[in-house]
């Protein structure tokens, strides 16, 4: 699958210097109120970083801030290039695909229209068509429901649709906001298996926000824990998983 777009964005060698995404000193604001107080995190090339914390800790806000959807202060660097002044759509065009909380499906449009919209900023017609077929291969249930109105899909199917749409962008980095939310355990397993394939076989880097911390820590390489907008722990996922005090205090288990 062509995860990376041909042309100006060549697949980058994992040995190249520097993380794919680097965030430092990120503060974010809802109106006059500051809700993030200086978050640092990185996502390695082809790596998976989990962003964890209780409800309301600021995980979604962090993702939204990275994508330029809330007012923010701080440095965000993607593949060596600062993106903190860019508009959301320009950030997407650089290859960052954000699957938001609630999936952000275009409910009145069909499944196929939703997927095609993922490629809205691309111009390579042939590659788009073949990518579409590959998304259908990856998610056969979507293929069955091509013409159906997206709002009528089940939760699991909508999540697949959202993921499929993000893949149509040809991204290098995937931002996932609570992909397991509201899904049955079996579906979640399927979903994460697919994500694993995308990461291990195709080198797609991911920043994963999850409330289901144990699942995320098994899956990710690095982990960052935040609490009411502040960083409380960060490091390799395995270590965070072993750190009982952190788990008990912030992750609920």
């Amino acid at each position: 699958m062509t995860i990376c777009r041909v042309g100006d964005r060549q697949p980058v060698d994992a040995a190249a210097a520097g993380p794919l995404l680097s965030v430092s000193g990120l503060q974010a604001f809802h109106g006059p109120v500051r809700v993030l107080h200086g978050i640092d995190l990185t996502v390695g090339r082809g790596g998976i970083t989990a962003l964890l914390g209780a409800n309301g800790a600021g995980k979604t806000t962090t993702l939204r801030a990275i994508c330029g959807m809330v007012r923010k202060v701080g440095a965000v660097v993607f593949d060596g290039r600062p993106i903190d002044t860019l508009a959301t759509e320009d950030i997407a065009r650089l290859g960052i695909a954000h699957v938001p909380q609630g999936r952000g499906t275009f409910e009145r449009l069909s499944v196929e229209e939703n997927l095609r919209l993922g490629a809205a900023s691309r111009s390579d017609r042939r590659a788009i068509v073949s990518d579409l077929e590959r998304v259908y291969d990856l998610f056969p249930r979507l293929a069955e429901r091509r013409g159906q109105q997206a709002g009528t899909l089940s939760g699991g199917e909508q999540q697949m649709l959202a993921l499929g749409r993000s893949l149509m962008l040809g991204p290098r980095l995937l931002l996932l906001d609570e992909p397991s939310f509201g899904l049955a355990p079996m579906i979640v397993e399927e979903l994460f298996a697919t994500l694993a394939v995308l990461n291990r076989q195709h080198g797609l880097a991911m920043l994963l926000v999850e409330q289901n911390a144990s699942l995320a820590l098994e899956f990710a390489d690095e982990a960052v824990v935040i609490e009411t907008g502040r960083l409380v722990a960060s490091g390799p996922a395995r270590e965070i998983a072993r750190e009982t005090s952190v788990r008990r205090a912030y992750l609920g288990y």
């Binding site: 959301t88 449009l109 490629a119």
Partner: protein, 292 residues
């Protein structure tokens, strides 16, 4: 029965006017998620521009094309200058902006061209359709033009990437941005297209109702009625709704006592409201069930 048929045909003829207007209204609603109250005034202004070009000796179809192009540019300019800076203002404030635009255009039109009633030529001539005496050539032409516009818009929105992007930008701007769609440009484009469609509507309507600055006042209301009746989400519904309003208005005027000219509009609106009671999203509208 003959009277009924005649009235229905007359209704279809006036309905074509409303259908044209309703199409422009739904178009901009699809693009920007707002009802543009100044749509009629924009169309009137465009038609006056066309008239002026004709006065200066421009051949009809050149004036037509130039007016459409200028209206497109004008729509984009209005969006950029007036509505873009106010993007974050509350919804009700936006509506006041539309009202302001209405007042400015209406006043400007009267100021530049004064209030004398003028005639506006029809490209279809003044005869009747195939000489049958029942339907005028212009009415038939108007129906044809409306149908053609509808077809083009349908193809554009359903089968082109740009049309899909525009629909997405209007439906869910945040999600649209996340897939790289430049929502601002889509909105400006939507305004331009709506202004262009409005200009065509104006140039089709003016030969029938005669050109004057207040020409579109009643028609705008009928156009809204038709758009709402058909369902604001469906261009086809808007056109169908426009025709329906024309027929209803004519039939009500002919067959219900006490209705003179004054109450026709009320009756038409009353029927619309009644329909909305039964089908709140219009006849052809799609109601979206939101999962709570």
């Amino acid at each position: 029965m003959e009277l009924l048929t005649l009235q229905i045909l007359a209704g279809v003829a006036t309905g074509a006017i409303y259908a044209c207007m309703a199409l422009a209204i739904v178009m901009i609603y699809q693009a920007i998620d707002h009802l543009n109250f100044a749509q009629g005034e924009m169309a009137t202004f465009s038609t006056f521009v066309a008239w002026q070009l004709l006065q200066w000796g421009t051949p009809y179809w050149m004036a037509f094309a130039a007016t459409v192009a200028l209206s497109f540019a004008g729509g984009v300019a209005i969006e950029r200058a007036l509505f873009r800076p106010m993007r974050d203002a509350p919804v009700l404030a936006h509506i006041v902006l539309f009202i302001a635009l209405f007042a400015i255009l209406n006043s400007l039109t009267g100021f530049i061209w004064d209030f004398t009633i003028r005639s506006f030529p029809s490209p279809f001539g003044t005869g009747s359709l195939a000489g049958n005496g029942l339907v005028s050539a212009h009415s038939a032409g108007m129906v044809g033009v409306t149908g053609a516009m509808l077809a083009m818009l349908y193809l554009f929105f359903r089968h082109t990437r740009l049309g899909l992007a525009m629909r997405a930008a209007a439906a869910n701007p945040d999600s649209a941005r996340l897939v790289g769609i430049r929502v601002d440009r889509m909105i400006a484009l939507g305004w331009g297209m709506a202004a262009a469609v409005g200009a065509v509507a104006g140039m089709m309507i003016a030969p029938v109702v005669f050109l004057e600055p207040n020409m579109m006042l009643a028609i705008l209301v009928y156009g809204f009625a038709g758009a709402v009746l058909g369902g604001l989400t469906s261009p086809f519904g808007a056109v169908a709704g426009g025709f329906a309003v024309g027929v209803i208005e004519n039939l009500a005027g002919s067959f219900i006592p006490y209705i003179g000219q004054e109450l026709r509009l009320t009756i038409a609106l009353g029927v619309i409201v009644a329909v909305l009671m039964v089908r709140p999203s219009g006849l052809f509208g799609v109601s979206v069930t939101t999962r709570v």
